[in-house]
């Protein structure tokens, strides 16, 4: 039984993964993440990778809503902050452990997705972006208005650790990141994902085809809210504090920067961007005076020469589409791996 399962996995790896360089890269990256504590248990490195995993979920969740569905959200920190505060309050006052508070925080973020999604349904483009921008600012006002509950400017601190050790925290976050990333990618690739795509391209046409776009747009808000909420809950327990910084406008814009840098409408693009940019910002601590300037310059240069984002740019150079069946193939192949059509 076990042997059969292993053989099946082997076949899938051979026929589905090893055939494309991008999939090999993802597999190697996942292997790297899962093994790094064995040969490099440096707490600082693990902290950076833990936080990068959390923000990767957050950035991909923005892509799911704004990239796939075209519902541009400039206030994505709302989901993150709601889940962080919810997880923090449940942990601090009701002593719920992180494995309960993180999912409940994500559910709260889904509720917030509904609350935000419904009034925003009639809005599009700039109007939607500006309206969504206002929600975390409103919540920030409420946080300061009820300091007895929310801790005001201090936030809610003294939370339980996500796991008993740094390595434990790292594994919880990285495994959840890999799982959430895979799920979001599958959603984007599913029938629902195709409808999300279609809504972005031409909502009227989708409605004319008899599809209830309202339902799908709310679904996109809820799904995106859920994953951003998971990230928010994890963040609160890793940092052991949920404060006003989880609702800051700058955090919302960070998600946009990550997604645009890595390549929108891909899920893995924004996630890869976080794993490049987050450690890069740490690396630039060697030039403290120029740190932010250098960081901004790198992003600008990448976007100038790779307007579709870094990851699609790389992918397009190592893989190409089959002219007949549109399947992806390694550039060196002479014939399509699916339909055997000539590639040149």
């Amino acid at each position: 039984m076990l042997l059969a399962q292993l053989r099946r996995i082997q076949v899938v790896i051979k026929t589905e993964v090893l055939v494309l360089p991008s999939r090999i890269a993802v597999m190697l990256f996942a292997l790297f993440l899962l093994t790094v504590p064995f040969y490099w248990p440096d707490p600082y490195l693990l902290r950076i990778l833990t936080l990068a995993s959390i923000f990767a979920i957050f950035a991909a969740s923005w892509d799911l809503l704004s990239g796939f569905t075209g519902q541009v959200n400039f206030g994505h920190a709302l989901f993150f902050g709601v889940a962080a505060y919810c997880a923090a309050l449940l942990n601090l006052h009701l002593k719920f452990p992180p494995w309960v508070t993180v999912p409940l925080g994500a559910v709260a973020a889904v509720g917030t997705g509904l609350l935000v999604g419904i009034p925003c349904l009639r809005l599009k483009g700039t109007y939607l972006a500006l309206t969504t921008l206002s929600f975390p600012i409103i919540l920030m006002g409420l946080v300061f208005a009820f300091p007895d509950l929310t801790g005001g400017e201090l936030g809610v601190s003294g939370l339980s650790r996500l796991a008993g050790s740094r390595v434990g925290e790292y594994y919880v976050c990285s495994v959840l990141m890999l799982g959430a990333g895979f799920l979001m990618w599958k959603i984007g690739d599913s029938k629902t994902g195709i409808i999300f795509h279609a809504i972005r391209e031409d909502e009227l046409a989708v409605r004319t085809a008899g599809i209830n776009t309202t339902k799908y747009k709310i679904l996109a808000f809820c799904l995106s809210g859920f994953f951003a909420g998971v990230a928010g809950g994890l963040y609160a327990h890793v940092m052991r504090i949920a404060g006003p910084s989880t609702l800051e406008v700058s955090l919302s814009f960070q998600a946009v920067i990550w997604a645009v840098f890595g390549g929108m409408v891909s899920i893995y693009g924004p996630m890869a961007a976080v794993f490049i940019l987050f450690p890069l910002l740490e690396l630039l601590r060697v030039v403290p005076q120029l740190r932010n300037l250098a960081f901004a310059l790198i992003i600008l240069l990448i976007l100038l020469y790779m307007p579709e984002g870094l990851i699609p740019w790389i992918r397009d150079r190592i893989e190409k589409l089959c002219p007949r069946c549109k399947a992806r193939n390694f550039t060196r192949r002479s014939h399509c791996r699916i339909c055997a059509a000539h590639m040149h």
Binding site: P43, R47, L154, G158, R240, P279, V286
Partner: protein
């Protein structure tokens, strides 16, 4: 193509290697100075610690048992105003990569709370020199074993800051009564629209009538307002004799400038962080004359070390020290504790830090049971400083609890206020 992949791989390995940690040897004592280094608060942290480290190293270093070890400062840019996550990463990097032995600094409370947790996890002594919130020390009282490595050196905690704020107001009210015959002054509360100022506004509204004063109204301009003439006109129309200010941001400059230009017949007293800086006089074109603000340092003899510290700092950095420069005292306190303990072991140094009786630049520093700096007569009091013809002079304590620091001068009611009410 291959070259590109190779370069990308090399860059990634460089990222990882640079994170993998360095730091070696126990032939020096590494002290991490944590602060927002791109801002004046972080500069204060770094400058104060630099001055102290130079003095200590000039004397041969720190006597640890039989060895003399020099101090090496590590600049830890927390970027905490902009990014709390960044601050915690900086803290972790300082401890694990730079291998600092001790830490001092911090400013934004939310960030300091998160950084405090990391320092305590590694059992690293962290001397707070910026965040005033009581919660940081309340944690020591709640869970001593975990948080005993935290001490606050500066500023006094926010509860006491508010007390000093009201003592300054009381001093001005008394002066108005004795010199202008205004026995029940009307007070305009003008506080920037910021969270930290909310409790001060509430306490003022509750307590001013009990203090024998009348409230003329409450005005809350934006912290970054560039024009507050409307508020000042309203204050004047309300017949206020005193303006009780709470400004930590740039609004303190236009307020003081327009207050002087419009010659609003009300004395300004309270907190105006901009007025604590040397550049205030030039920024207001001298119109901020007679502004009174709470402060930490002035060229007065709070202790024997205040004036030498003040002069040396000003000579070296061409500006008066702000309160985050309390890292100067923090480093001297730490060094004394290490020398008494004869070891760098954190737990033993904590025991010695708890016995601290140090005459610092801002007063005598003694730690309370929850490791907070003690406030009150004979300890750190904070001071009130008033701009008088281009100089920021100490005017408080003016005999409060029998204290008047040598070098303090009398508070002056602005001449146009005096002229208005003497008519």
């Amino acid at each position: 193509m291959r070259r590109g992949v190779f370069l990308a791989a090399a860059a990634w390995v460089w990222v990882l290697v640079s994170m993998a940690g360095s730091g070696w040897g126990a032939d020096e004592i590494k002290v991490g100075v944590v602060g927002p280094m791109a801002f004046t608060q972080g500069e204060g942290h770094w400058n104060g610690a630099t001055m102290a480290a130079e003095e200590i190293n000039a004397k041969g270093g720190v006597q640890v048992g039989k060895k003399k070890l020099p101090i090496k400062l590590v600049k830890v840019d927390s970027n905490e105003f902009l990014n709390v996550t960044d601050a915690t990463n900086a803290m972790e990097r300082a401890i694990t990569y730079d291998k600092v032995d001790f830490l001092m600094g911090g400013f934004r409370t939310e960030a300091v709370l998160a950084m405090q947790d990391i320092a305590m996890e590694y059992k690293k002594i962290f001397l707070g020199c910026g965040a005033a919130h009581p919660e940081l020390c309340a944690r020591v009282a709640k869970d001593y074993e975990k948080y005993k490595y935290w001490f606050r050196v500066t500023p006094i905690n926010s509860t006491f800051l508010v007390k000093v704020d009201f003592l300054l107001l009381e001093m001005v009210a008394k002066k108005m009564a004795t010199e202008l015959g205004i026995s029940k002054p009307k007070v305009a509360i003008v506080a920037e629209k910021a969270v930290w100022a909310d409790p001060i506004v509430n306490i003022a509204q509750e307590n001013l009538p009990k203090m024998g004063m009348e409230i003329a109204g409450v005005w809350r301009p934006s912290p970054v307002a560039t024009d507050v003439s409307a508020e000042l006109s309203a204050v004047q129309s309300a017949g206020a004799h005193i303006i009780f200010t709470s400004f930590s941001s740039s609004v303190g400059i236009p307020f003081a400038k327009q207050w002087g230009e419009l010659q609003v017949p009300a004395a300004a007293v309270g907190i105006n962080v901009e007025a604590q800086k040397d550049g205030f006089w030039a920024a207001t074109g001298g119109k901020g004359n007679y502004t009174l603000t709470m402060n930490t340092y002035a060229r007065v003899k709070m202790t024997d070390s205040t004036i030498p510290f003040f002069d040396k700092y000003k000579e070296r950095f061409k500006e008066a020290p702000n309160y985050t420069a309390g890292t100067y005292d923090a480093l001297h306190i730490l060094v004394q504790a290490i020398e008494r303990a004869g070891t760098l072991d954190s737990a033993k140094v904590v025991q010695e830090l708890e016995k601290t009786q140090y005459m610092g630049g801002a007063g005598k520093i003694v730690f309370s049971k929850d490791h907070d700096v003690t406030w009150g007569p004979g300890f750190v009091t904070a001071i009130g400083t008033q701009w008088q013809d281009g100089q920021n002079l100490c005017v408080w304590p003016d005999g409060w609890q029998g204290i008047k620091y040598e070098g303090c001068v009398d508070y002056k009611i602005p001449p146009w206020v005096r002229a208005h009410y003497k008519k």
